[in-house]
Symmetry: C2
DNA sequence: TGTTGACTTAAACCATGGTTTAAGTCGTAT
DNA sequence: ATACGACTTAAACCATGGTTTAAGTCAACA
C-alpha cells in the first residue's frame, strides 16, 4: 500500500490541511495511522473514505450525519442495511434540494430576461 | 393596495417572524412601513421583494450579496445593468453548485447500488 | 551543529445565519 | 377595567463549519 502525507491529501482534494485535521478530530477520518514522528499517514483506504466524506459534504450532509455514516462503516458489514437506509434518505434530501434550487433558478432567469429587455425608459 | 402583517407574511412563506425581522435589520427588506402602533405593514411590492429574497436565499446567495442586490433595486432604474450582471454571475454560481451536487450524487448512487446488491458474505 | 520546512497539538478565534429572551406597547373581547 | 394575544425592540445566545495561533517536535540539508 502507498501512504500519503497530509500535504499530499490536501493537494489531491484541494482541501486545507487544517480542515483535514478538523475532520479527523470530528471523527470523519478515523483510524488514521501515524509514522514514528507522529505524522498522519493516509492509506489508500483512508483516501477512499475521504473521497466519500467529500462527496457527502458536497451534497450538504451535516458533519454529524457524515460522522454517523462513518461510524457505521467502521463498525463493519453488519451495518450495511443501516448505511443503505442512510444513503437512500440522503439521496431524497439531495434531490429535493436540487429541485428547490432549479425551481428558484427560474426566478433568477426571469430577472435576467427582464433586465436584458429593458428597452429605454420602461419598467 | 393590500397590506399584510408580519404573521401573514410569515405564514405565506413559511418563514419565522424572527427571520423576517432579522432580514429587515440586515437591509434585505428596506422601506417597510408601519401602522400607528409601530407594526410592520408589508405592501404587495414588499411581498414581491421578499419573494426575490427567498429565491436568492434558496440558491445560496449570502445575505451580504442579497443586500447588495436589494440596495441596487432601491437605488432605481439606473442600476439595472449592475443588477443584470449580478444575476448573470449568480446564475453561473448556481449552475456550478447544481453540477457539483449532481456529480456527487453519483457517488451516493454507487453506494446505494453496492449496498443493495450485497449478496451474503461478500464485500 | 544549526537552521529550515513540514509537521504536531490544544485552544482561541471567526463568520454566517439565524433564534431566543426580556421587557414593553397596543387593540380587542369579556 | 382588565386580561389576552399580537406585536415591538435590543441584546444575548446558539449551532455550524471551519481557520488561526502559539508553542513545540523532527528530519534533512548546508
Amino acid at each position: 500500500m502507498k501512504y500519503c502525507s497530509i500535504s499530499e491529501a490536501s493537494a489531491k482534494f484541494n482541501i486545507p490541511e487544517s480542515t483535514l485535521r478538523y475532520y479527523e478530530k470530528k471523527g470523519l477520518l478515523p483510524l488514521i495511522e501515524r509514522d514514528e514522528a507522529g505524522r498522519r499517514l493516509f492509506s489508500e483506504d483512508q483516501i477512499a473514505l475521504l473521497e466519500t466524506v467529500i462527496c457527502l459534504k458536497n451534497t450538504h450532509m451535516p458533519i454529524s450525519g457524515i460522522k454517523q455514516y462513518i461510524d457505521l462503516v467502521v463498525e463493519g458489514d453488519n451495518t450495511i442495511e443501516l448505511r443503505l437506509e442512510m444513503m437512500k434518505n440522503h439521496r431524497q434530501a439531495v434531490l429535493a434540494e436540487i429541485s428547490l434550487m432549479t425551481e428558484s433558478l427560474k426566478g433568477i432567469d426571469v430577472k435576467i430576461t427582464r433586465y436584458t429587455n429593458v428597452p429605454r425608459k420602461e419598467k
